[in-house]
Amino acid sequence: MIQFNNVTKICNDDVILDSVSFEIKEGEFVSFVGKSGAGKTTLVKMILGLEKPTSGEVLFNGINFSEADPTALQDMRRKIGGIYQDYKLLPKRTVFENVAYIMQVEGKDNEEIEAEVPKVLEAIGLGEKLNSFPDELSGGEQQRLAVARALVNHPDIIIADEPTGNLDPYNAYEVISILQKINQSGKTVILATHDREIINKLGKRVITLEKGKIIRDEAEGRFII
């Protein structure tokens, strides 16, 4: 599904990623771990097509991100649901509008949006907050909204970049358990984190990065740095 072939990224003479190669298959739950600055976020941005490699290639379902035209890139991004540490919500839109936006981008009709969005928000525990703005929600609620937004279009892949970074342990486990459920439903989940406890409890594939290089890739890995 996703392939990194000998990918190197250099920014201002700093090597961010150094000859990184791996493959993620459909339905996998893969965690990228490493210290801050190890290259996790750059890797996530490349999977979203927001960064281009200096050399090497990133393939999504066989299509090279670097060679895709803007329309193809948008289509690929729509197949990926992103969850971020800073939530990346639309601050001037309500909870309902934040989730609806993703469906509007896909060109879904209003009836479908009106029916689907409240269901997703209800499932995520935000059914009572449809008309609230993001800054009126707690950190945990904002992250759940980000999860709802990532799920609403039934994407092929969920990418979570440090999704628990700003959350207390209770909310952090809630988000991780949602990601596990998503994976159990057959979706591919990619998680970038430096939370040792979460990784060790997951018992899933772990790719460890250090200074832009992959130093470990284990099927049932643990957090070892």
Partner: protein, 303 residues
Amino acid sequence: MLTNFKRIAKFAMDDFSRNKGISVAAVFVLTITIMLVTGLFFFQVAGNYLTSQIQSKIDITAYFNSDAQESDILNAKDEIAKISGVKNIEYVSQDQALATFNQLHKGNSVLSQALQQVGDNPFLPALNITTNGDPAQYQTIANVLQTSDYSKLVSKVDFSQKKDIIEKVYSMISSINLVGIILGIILIIVAILVVYNTVKLAIENSSEEISTMHAVGADSWFIRGPFVIQGIIYGLIAFAICFVVTAISAFLVSSKLAAILPGFSASGYFLTNWWIFVLIQLVFGMGVGAISALIVVKKHLDK
């Protein structure tokens, strides 16, 4: 397509009403700059009127000898009329000149006695010529009158006596026009930059939002559209305010301006040319607002 447009328009309206502070600031700056552009246009109109008034007052008179044949003078008139820039040319015979003089000084016994003492009609036949005010035209006319056909007939041309003054006035008018154009261009560029920076500040506030929209796969028009429509809304509101202010100002200053520029009516000009004001204010307001938004969002998307 239509659904997308409706959504983009709704986003724009929501953003406009939810960012009241930024919206008010952007409309205020646009209003001020549109007023500046309108003011420049109005001064240009008043300046042109003043220039044409001064130029219409400058004319040239060619006096012919008293024994010159009327047919020769009329030949000269026809030839001068062919020169480009000659707006009007009028033949005044000796008798007409005398009649006009008598009419003007009716009841002035001293002048009447003086005329009786002279005996004959002392006035010379003449051609009164009005041009577009360019001194070069006067020189061309003088050259025609100096050709062998007419030089013997012409007694004097008053242009040569007023030449320096005419050239000074013309050069002054040309300089004022040039300075006006340069100043106008500079002020319009400043106005565009001010609007651009205001729209830029308003959009910078949403830079995180733009990158999020980009990341979730929104196409560029779905991202740009609301900002461009917001720019148009800023322009429309600013236009409405400016148009009302312009109309009220034109009527308020009309009498005062007429005292400085006799015959010029600001309110009359506004009533007959209101559509020009609509065009300038709408095109400037909406155009600069929308184009600024387009450029700023494009820069964000290209990052």
